[in-house]
């Protein structure tokens, strides 16, 4: 099964290794051959990679399709938000340890590259969602590039900040804040879906999580400065900012006659979080 013109692989290669070999043949420039799974010591010349490849080939590669297409409203009621694995970046991304032409193989890249890519996605989504720019050229970009790492960090950060600020029952405060925000995001999305709106479940979770960023800043300021009046002002400002960021998204998702029905729960959640921030001493 090994072709003479390519790297000699071990004879127990699976059939999809042939597929991979075809890809290698089609793009011979940046080739990083992976080792076969069984007891290995095949003599594989490593072409130009700065790091050694992993010791196994996953038999089903992650599908190299763009994961942001073809969303369907999923119905997982009250599902907790899972952190998603890192996604391949857009076509043409040039990760140094890329394996098979396009798309790059994210399993073989350095961890720092993965983290950097996810961080840059979080920052770009944040800029798109929380600082809506009227002259932005592609308003739907934040939706297509949704991810759940950002919301996860913001929710955990808010829970931790509230928990640090509390003087008694710290763990209960964290639990209440986390449950309120996580369950709240899921329930708000379900609410829009039940009212007959058009929204995609994870996009909405992602956007509601990113809209928490101003409240995170507010909670941090309130933790550092303990004056009640300052807290009220800061929380009011950040609450208005969060609601303003979430408003266009939620209001466009439902029938205009039901707009208030969809927006009121968002306001309720942010007001309750704001009250928690002020009230935790």
């Amino acid at each position: 099964m090994s072709h003479s013109d390519t790297i000699p692989l071990h004879s127990t290669s699976q059939s999809d290794i042939d597929e991979i070999e075809n890809l290698i043949n089609s793009n011979p420039s940046s080739v990083l051959p992976a080792r076969p799974p069984s007891p290995p010591r095949a003599s594989i010349p490593i072409s130009s990679a700065p790091i050694p490849p992993p010791a196994f080939i996953p038999s089903n590669l992650p599908a190299p399709t763009n994961p942001k297409t073809a969303p369907v409203p999923s119905v997982s009621s009250a599902a907790p938000k899972p952190p998603l694995p890192p996604r391949p970046s857009g076509p043409g991304g040039n990760i140094s340890a890329s394996g098979f032409g396009s798309p790059p193989n994210t399993l073989t890249e350095p961890v720092w590259d993965t983290v950097k890519r996810d961080l840059s996605r979080i920052v770009s989504n944040l800029k798109l969602v929380v600082f809506p720019n009227p002259f932005r050229e592609d308003p739907g970009k934040a939706l297509r590039d949704w991810d759940l790492w950002g919301p996860f960090f913001f929710i955990v950060f808010l829970g931790l900040t509230l928990s640090w600020s509390a003087s008694v029952k710290k763990s209960e405060v964290f639990a209440v804040a986390f449950a309120l925000l996580a369950a709240g995001a899921v329930i708000l999305t379900l609410n829009v879906l039940l009212l007959g709106g058009h929204i995609i479940f994870f996009q909405s979770l992602s956007l509601l999580g990113y809209c928490l960023f101003p409240l995170d800043i507010g909670a941090l300021i309130c933790m550092l400065k303990d004056n009640v009046l300052v807290k009220v002002v800061v929380v009011a400002v950040t609450l208005a900012w969060s609601s303003w960021a979430a408003y266009p998204f939620m209001s466009s998702a439902v029938n205009p006659r039901r707009k208030a029905l969809a927006l009121y729960p968002v306001l309720l959640m942010y007001v309750s979080v704001g009250f928690l921030i002020i009230a935790i001493d």
Binding site: P134, F135, V173, L194, G197, S204, L268
Partner: protein, 241 residues
């Protein structure tokens, strides 16, 4: 429910993030959900499309029902909701009430302690949220269920969704009265809660009586009244002591 919103233009507010990415796909996915529902009844439990019929209300309808819950004497609530009972009121009124009594209860307790002892400092008791959530959600889910089964047993037909709708809207008065209960005068608080509880309880009882329409189950009506008053007194004593 099937009025298609794909004809509506997506919002082009400047700087907005349009939610609908693939409008042309969602009508087909909705139809798939309906087809699935007709072929296999059990799958309908996990599909959102089977529950949208209970949320088929507009803003003005909800406001109308909220206002009518403040008039306990009229007794025509069931005729109002007969064609289109909704669970939106149940879910969000009870959630608002949980938050309101937890937060305002903390404020009220602080103010009461402040009157008797000027040196108390503000503490926020997070367990108010837990107790509020358990009691309000438990009450508003279980009591209508119990009445549904009771009335089925006693022979008259009952509709669970309408009962949930009724009890959900009956909690609206408590939200308004909990704002007033922050005032730290004990006599005033008792007056407010008894008035509010009485209004809510008579709303429930009178509507239930007009719905059941038989004279030998007045005990059911009276017990509904007593339970609602019990909830009111519990709210007062636990959260606004």
């Amino acid at each position: 429910m099937d009025e298609s919103f794909s004809n509506l233009p997506t919002s082009y507010l400047l700087g907005s993030v349009p939610a609908v990415v693939s409008e042309e796909k969602t009508p087909s996915s909705q139809e798939d959900g309906d087809e699935q529902q007709s072929t296999n009844n059990w799958k309908g439990v996990f599909s959102i499309s089977s529950y949208t019929q209970y949320f088929n209300v507009d803003t003005d309808v909800v406001l109308n029902r909220l206002i009518s819950s403040l008039y306990p004497i009229s007794g025509d609530f069931f005729s109002k909701i007969d064609a289109n009972p909704d669970l939106y009121g149940l879910v969000w009124i009870s959630t608002t009430l949980v938050f309101a009594i937890a937060s305002l209860g903390n404020c009220a307790t602080y103010l009461m302690h402040r009157r008797s002892d000027h040196s108390t400092s503000w503490t926020f008791d997070v367990s108010y949220l837990n107790v509020a959530a358990c009691s309000i959600y438990g009450y508003v889910l279980i009591v209508p269920l119990a009445y549904y089964f009771l009335l089925q047993y006693l022979g008259s037909n009952a509709s669970l969704i309408r009962f949930w709708c009724l009890w959900g809207y009956s909690l609206f008065i408590f939200i308004l009265s909990s704002f007033l209960l922050v005032i730290p005068f004990e006599f005033l608080r008792w007056t407010i809660i008894l008035l509010g509880g009485g209004a809510s309880a008579s709303f429930v009882a009178l509507n239930l009586r007009s719905y059941i329409n038989e004279s030998e189950i007045t005990i059911v009506v009276i017990s509904a009244f007593v339970l609602q008053m019990g909830l009111a007194i519990f709210i007062k004593m636990w959260f606004f002591a």
